[in-house]
Every structure is written in C-alpha cells, then in structure tokens.
C-alpha cells in the first residue's frame, strides 16, 4: 500500500517545527526584534499561492473572482516582503555601525 503524500508533508512540517525550535533558541535576545520582522517577511512566501491564483485566469477571462483575490493577496504579501526584509536590514545595519566604531 502506498503512503499518502500528506504524510510526507506532515513529516516535513513536524521536522521543521523542531528545526525552528532549536534555531530560534539560539537567537541572541538582543536580536529578537529583527527576528520578528524577518519571520514576518519570510512568512509572506504565501505570495507563491497568490501568484498562482492570479495567473490562473484564462485568456478570455483575465479576471475571475479567484484571480482578483490572488492579486489582492499579492499586494499585501509584497508590502510585507519588501517592508519586512528592508526594515530588518535597516535594523541589522545599526548593529554593525557600533562594531566599526569600537
């Protein structure tokens, strides 16, 4: 009997929770704010679903209700991706300057 692909995805999910657990415990407390902004940015990888939905409109029917929701989600996720990574970068840059000054 074949294993349901869902089980494979579930395995990835569970193992990733463990990876997340150990990786996040090793994050230094002084970088907890950048941690939040960067997790924010990466969770916007949900944009891939939005792009697929938005591109799914057929030639004669570019906009169906599904692709409109896809496009809206693209805007939201894009704000987050650009905003999240850039603001993280801005913060991390501030941690660097001091090192150089010392």
């Amino acid at each position: 009997m074949e294993i349901d692909p869902f089980i494979f995805r579930l395995s990835i999910f569970i193992l990733s929770i463990f990876i997340g657990y150990y990786v996040v415990w090793s994050v230094t407390p002084s970088l907890h704010t950048p941690l939040m902004s960067v997790t924010n940015a990466i969770s916007s990888v949900i944009i891939v679903g939005a792009i697929i939905a938005a591109l799914a409109g057929s030639l004669e029917n570019t906009f169906n209700s599904s692709s409109i929701f896809g496009l809206l989600a693209i805007v939201l996720a894009a704000v987050n991706i650009f905003g999240g990574f850039l603001v993280t970068q801005r913060m991390l840059q501030m941690y660097k300057k001091k090192k150089a000054k010392k």
């Binding site: 990786v23 950048p34 939040m36 679903g49 169906n64 987050n80 603001v87 801005r90």
Partner: protein
C-alpha cells in the same frame, strides 16, 4: 514551465535558505548575511511560482504591477518608520500576512482547478480542511493584529476591555468554527466558508481586546506564531514545501518568544490570554496610594553630581525611554560619563518595551555598542558593586516587591536588583504606578533620588550639567 518535481526541489531550497536566515540571527555579525539568505530564498520561491504556471495569460502584467505597488509601499514604510514604532509596525505586518492567507485560501476555494485540488463544489476533503483552517487562523491573525496595532499606536486605549461571559463566548465561537468546518466538508457550501471566515475575524478581535498594554510583548509574539500556522495551513493546501517549512519555523519562533516573555513576567500563557491584567489591580491601588510616603526629589544638577563622582553606572531603560525618544540624549550622556573614565553598562529586562528586543534596537539606533548591553541574568549581580543605577522609563521591572511580597501580582517575576546599587536615579514623569498597577517600593528608598521630568528633557539637562 518547469516540472512539478523540479519546482518542489526549488521550494525546498528556499525553505532551507529561510532556516539559514534565522540561524544567522544567533549573532549580530552573521545576522546581515542571514538576511541575504532570506531574500535569496524569497526570490527563488517567487521566480519558481511564475515558472510553474502552465500558460501565462494576460494577467501576468497585472501580477507584476501589483507586485511593484506592494513592494513600493513596503519599501517606503521600511525606510520611513522610526525605530520607536517597531512594535506597531510588526503588528501591522502580521495583520497583512493574516489577510493574505485568507485571500489565498479564498482564491483556492473559488478556483481549486488552478491548484489541482479538485473542482469547484467538489474539492478534495483534505484540501478543504486545510484551507479552512488556514483561512480561519489567518483571519484571527488579521483582526487580532489590527487590535494590537491600534493599542500600540495609541489609537485605542491600552487598558483591557472585559465583559462578563467573554471567555464563554470565545469558547462557543471557537467550537462553532470547528462545527462549521465539519459541515463545510459535508456540503461544500460557499456560504459556510464565508461564515467561517467572518466568525474567525470576530474571534481575533475578541481574543485581543481583554489583553492590556503591558502584555503586548506576549501578544505580538503570539500573533507572530499564528501568522506562521496560517501560512503552514495554506502550505498544506497548496502542497508547497517552502510554505510548510516557513510556517513551521515562524510558528515555533513566535511560540518560543511568547514563552520567553511569559517567563520574564512570571505569568502563565493562559493567564495572559485570558487577559484583564492591570485593570482590577490598579483600582485597588489608587485607594492605597492616598497615604503618600515621602520621596526624595532631585534635579538634573544632583543627578549629574552623583554620576560624575561614581566609578560605575548601570542604565536601566524601559518603555518610557521609547515614548520620550530619549535614546540619543542618553547616548550623549553616556559618552560624557565615559570621558570621565566612568564604566557604563546597560541592563535590559526581557519585557522592557512593547516587544521582544525593543530596547536593544533603540540603543543600537543610538549607536550604543552591543557589547555594553546586557540581559537580566548577565548583569543582575553587578548592581551590588555599582555606584549609580540610572532608571529611565522602566518601572515594574525594577520593583523589589516582586521578590518580597507574595501577595503582589508581580511576585516571582524576575526583576533587576536596582535597589542594591549605592544610589538609584529614577527618571519618571510622576509617581503613578506602572502598567501592572502597583506601587514601586523603590521610589521611597533612602538611596533613591526621583527625577520627575520627561525622560528626554531630563537626560538633556543632565548632559548640560555634566560639563
């Protein structure tokens, strides 16, 4: 168009890059490289999603336009936002992730063919469950984060809003969502799907309104976690590895931060979620405060004199410093002290400020070297050997009551042993209690000098007096 297997491999790579992005944050030196890994992972995921669509319709142009619009708004916000506003920015961003998850779930529900999930009205059972859970968690994240945003921004009172039967109502609504998802699977009805989303929005609001301002670090971390679980739910629906990995990472990251914050306040996660903290205590306390105990009142001149004659000073910043934007003035003051060969360090309590690591970022912004900034457990023993503790904008995290009075609501909370210093300078606008609503014994100690003023103004005055 690339094969499904190839795109799955690329999604896996981008998931790994995201893990490396978080790994980089283990030290400030590797953190920037980590951020680049994250960006690379995101670019890979986006490019692959374009390539995996079979035939590009005319919508491609719109997709790119919307991507640019969103990106421009995001970049604009990222460059403009002051560092003191980071908590509300993060809350705002969480709400966007939540809403995006809801929209993607709706898109998948309305056009399941595009995602290979079956046909409209006949969606695969597992996918239907996954997408409704993703949509529900996303909706809770969205409305909850909006409330958190409003509270942090000061557009809504930070005090808890409670009413009788609140928790029962939440419980009923929560169970209602599960029952509706069950019927959704049986009937595939569009109306039930919309109802699930609507109720989830309501639950998000109801969950966050009873939680007070001081508990915001926990709330933000919790919503961070929720946004991750929502993304994971969508990831299962779309059978996308990158999303599943990321959702799990973000979900556990937020959960760990919530745990750290609860631990730092010695409160259980459940009691924070149930909320109401700070409301009932403050009322009882105002009566008690009627008998005013004497405090020693000082000015900038006294403070400057004390610090000039010290050999070591520990600075304890808190939310008040963020509100007054006093971090730059503070840094100026510290520079002057250092010129006089006075050793200066910073002590940061985990819940100082309104989000995890809030104070560290503000000090970093003011060019304070991060090796002068210490966490609670690393510096607490130093107070006994130091001459002056300069408390600026912090309150509850220095309250000795947490160690001495088992009846106090903050009893057992780890606090900074500020009172062990030879003298304590306490910058505060008034004698009013902090967010926990309790009086700080420290105000009335013999070695405490109260400096009643705005944090920024007082620090600037001290700087003048140090010359």
């Amino acid at each position: 168009m690339i094969s499904a297997n190839l795109s799955a491999v690329f999604y896996l790579i981008s998931g790994i890059l995201f893990i490396l992005a978080l790994r980089g944050l283990s030290s400030p030196d590797t953190s920037r490289q980590g951020n680049y890994f994250g960006i690379a992972g995101m670019i890979i995921a986006i490019v692959v999603s374009f390539l995996s669509v079979e035939n590009f319709s005319t919508s491609l142009a719109y997709v790119i336009i919307f991507l640019i619009i969103g990106g421009t708004i995001g970049a604009f916000i990222a460059f403009k936002i002051p560092m003191t506003a980071m908590p509300e920015l993060v809350a705002g961003f969480h709400s966007l992730v939540g809403l995006a998850a809801v929209f993607v779930a709706i898109a998948a529900f309305l056009n399941p063919e595009a995602f290979n999930l079956g046909d409209l009205g006949n969606i695969k059972l597992a996918s239907l469950i996954e997408m409704s859970i993703g949509a529900a968690v996303g909706a809770i994240t969205f409305s909850g984060s909006i409330i958190a945003f409003l509270k942090l921004r000061g557009l809504m009172s930070g005090s808890p809003i409670t009413f009788s039967g609140q928790h029962l109502l939440n419980l009923i609504l929560g169970l209602g969502i599960f029952v509706l998802i069950f019927y959704l699977c049986k009937t595939q009805s569009e109306n039930i799907f919309w109802t699930v989303i609507a109720i989830s929005f309501l639950v998000g609001i109801l969950l966050i309104i009873p939680i007070g301002g001081a508990d915001m670090p926990v709330v933000i971390s919790m919503l961070n976690s929720y946004s991750g679980w929502a993304a994971a739910g969508i990831g299962f629906t779309l059978e996308n590895t990158a999303l599943i990995i990321t959702g799990a990472l973000v979900g556990s990251s937020g959960a760990i931060l919530s745990y750290i914050m609860c631990k730092a306040m010695n409160r259980s996660f459940v009691s924070v979620i149930l909320g109401g903290f700070g409301a009932d205590n403050s009322s009882g306390n105002t009566k008690e405060k009627k008998d005013q105990k004497p405090v020693k009142n000082g000015n900038a001149e006294d403070a400057a004199f004390l610090m000039k004659n010290a050999s070591s000073v520990i600075i304890v910043p808190g939310y008040g410093m963020a509100v007054a934007q006093a971090q730059h003035a503070l840094r100026e003051m510290v520079d002057k002290l250092k010129k006089n060969d006075i050793k200066v360090t910073y002590a940061i309590h985990p819940v100082a400020g309104r989000m995890p690591g809030h104070m560290n970022v503000l000090l970093a912004e003011a060019n304070v070297p991060y090796d002068e900034v210490f966490e609670l457990e690393d510096i607490n023993n130093d107070f006994a050997n130091s001459d002056v503790a300069f408390v600026i904008g912090a309150n509850d995290v220095t309250n000795p009551v947490a160690k001495t009075d088992p009846k106090s609501p903050i009893f057992g909370m780890p606090v900074l042993d500020v009172e062990k210093c030879k003298s304590v300078l306490f910058v505060k606008r008034s004698l009013s209690p902090g967010y926990a609503g309790i009086d700080n014994e420290l105000f009335y100690k013999d070695n405490t000098l109260m400096l009643f003023a705005d944090a920024k103004k007082m620090t600037e005055d001290i700087v003048k007096n140090l010359d």
